[in-house]
């Protein structure tokens, strides 16, 4: 399998802090790798190494088979980068930002302008094209930033928390963009703090914490490891809570029925049929509900189960 990028044993220290303590990342061409982790896990450091902005202290990384340290200029022709903060020039207009990038990529003035107009159109920024980016909304700036990283038609694109701080509608826009990119054969490395996002977009997910990979797999594999999903039920009448609790205990293998909020019950379920079973039984019992949903585990829960199980394994192997 041809890897679009591949990193092995990346180590990066900043003074006394170890940002990365041996991280492996890889994605086959035309796929999305989700890198999931909390703030300070080392996600951005890993991206910066793959984008040739930082040199690793140890380990090696290649993009399209090119070494990020020794062949950095060639690597830069393959990649597009969208940082956590929008890296556009706020004093320039949308068009000027994109033309500047195009010119720096050795396009002629005419070609750079054509490319800029084309991208602005695709990102719904045509009307804002001649306005200074300073006056853009957060979502517009993010879109311009994304457009800027596509000027050179990169084969690999790094999106470092592309939806942090965006409202749900704008987030959906970014998701759609990512899917379109992949449909056209681009490989995407996406860092995120949201399992939901990784689940929606990624072919594979690497979970990192404290500069180490603590899990890697497809979203389905990962969800199996962390205990799948949670079924949330809110009966219309709080008096039915006990009955509902009884119902839920029959579908759940684990007995840990929780009440995350007043009048709400949640239970972890492994089986995809649990939802339909619960609906049927609620219906049979004539209990009306105002909320019934399947929820993915939160990042906290993912980390709790991953690090919890890891400690357990370590304890077992030590014993």
């Amino acid at each position: 399998m041809a890897y679009a990028f591949e990193a092995e044993g990346l180590v990066k220290r900043f003074g006394a802090t170890t940002a990365l303590a041996g991280v492996d990342l890889a994605a086959p061409e035309g796929t999305v790798l989700g890198v999931l982790g909390p703030n300070g896990a080392g996600k951005t450091t890993a991206v910066r190494i793959l984008a040739t902005l930082l040199r690793p202290d140890e380990g090696r990384a290649t993009v399209a088979g090119l070494d990020v340290v020794h062949q950095a200029p060639q690597v830069r022709r393959q990649i597009g980068l969208t940082g956590q903060y929008a890296s556009v020039d706020e004093d320039l207009t949308g068009t000027e930002n994109l033309v500047l990038i195009g010119r720096l990529l050795d396009l002629s003035k005419r070609d750079a302008l054509a490319r800029a107009r084309h991208l602005l159109g695709q990102f719904d920024l045509t009307e804002a094209a001649d306005r200074v980016a300073k006056h853009y909304s957060g979502g517009m700036r993010r879109r311009l930033d994304l457009a800027a990283s596509l000027v050179g038609r990169p084969s690999v694109i790094y999106l470092d928390e592309p939806t942090t701080g965006l409202d749900p509608a704008k987030r959906d826009d970014v998701w759609r963009l990512v899917r379109n990119l992949v449909a056209d054969g681009t490989t995407v490395l996406l860092t995120t703090q949201y399992l939901e996002e990784a689940d929606a977009l990624a072919d594979d997910i690497t979970v990192i914490d404290h500069g180490r990979v603590i899990a890697h797999g497809t979203p389905a594999e990962l969800k199996r490891v962390v205990g799948g999903q949670t079924l949330v039920v809110r009966p219309a009448d709080p008096a039915h809570l006990d009955t509902v609790r009884g119902l839920l205990s029959q579908v759940s293998t684990g007995k840990n029925i929780d009440s995350p909020a007043r009048g709400v019950l949640s239970v972890p379920v492994d089986d995809d049929s649990a939802m339909t079973t619960v609906v049927r039984r609620l219906d049979d019992a004539g209990i009306a509900v105002t909320e019934l949903s399947l929820r993915l585990p939160s990042l906290d829960e993912v980390f709790f189960s991953l690090t919890g199980s890891r400690e357990q394994i370590e304890q077992e192997s030590a014993a």
């Binding site: 902005l53 022709r77 000027e96 720096l104 054509a114 050179g152």
Partner: protein, 277 residues
Amino acid sequence: MSSTTTLMTEAPDVPAAPTSDTPAKPFPLIRHSLILAGRSITKIRRTPEQLIDVTVQPIIFTVLFVYLFGGAISGSQHAYLQFVLPALMVQTVLFATLAIGVNLNTDMGKGVFDRFRSLPIPRSAPLVGAVLGDVVRFVTSIAVLLGFGYAIGFRVETNALQALAACLLVLFFAFSLTWVSVFLGTTVRNSGTVQGIGFLVMFPLTFGSSMFVPVNTMPGWLQAWVKVNPITHLTEACRGLMVGGAITEPVLWSLGWSVAIMAVFAPLAVRMYRSRT
């Protein structure tokens, strides 16, 4: 954005972007630096208030020195104007070199520098581009100062060619001093410190020179400093070229200092810049 567009579908008239197979054009540093200098100039055009330090400030200094001190130092305001205007040209441009260090220090932390660095361009191109863009500010300051000076009675006593040479000499010196400013900007932790250190260095250099008063009025120890101060040579060279006096020696000294400063600080600044970004 429209949900019906497919992102990477190209209109037929859109040319292909460069790939790794595209042969690189020659002289990437010069070419990319010039493109980035264009960026600086666009920004100046868009926010002309950035130019206050090179427009309003020299006028204030001229008014202050000529009308406040002129009579006391030279006996007449016009005589002092002839004496001090070439010096003010030097002073204005010198202070204008501080801005780039301050700006770079602020800008380097921002995302747009990351963007530049992820592009296949020479790593120092954004830096060189910013330095070249600053030349526009220097030219503006010289134009404003000469224009205002003329309006209040300053006259070139040599010829236009020599006056132009004086302007170019000041520009060249400022260009070399810009690297000191860049070095400071990339070395020091915050922009306030850049400004502080800059002024600390600039004051003895400008006031401890032949800029504002004749050297023979100063005590011997000060004269010793003034005579080695490169700013004295530059000021004397400009005076010689604009209102008459010795030319060859101060011009050579000024050129020598410019080259020496650049030879030391340009590589240092580039090295600091590369390690910081």
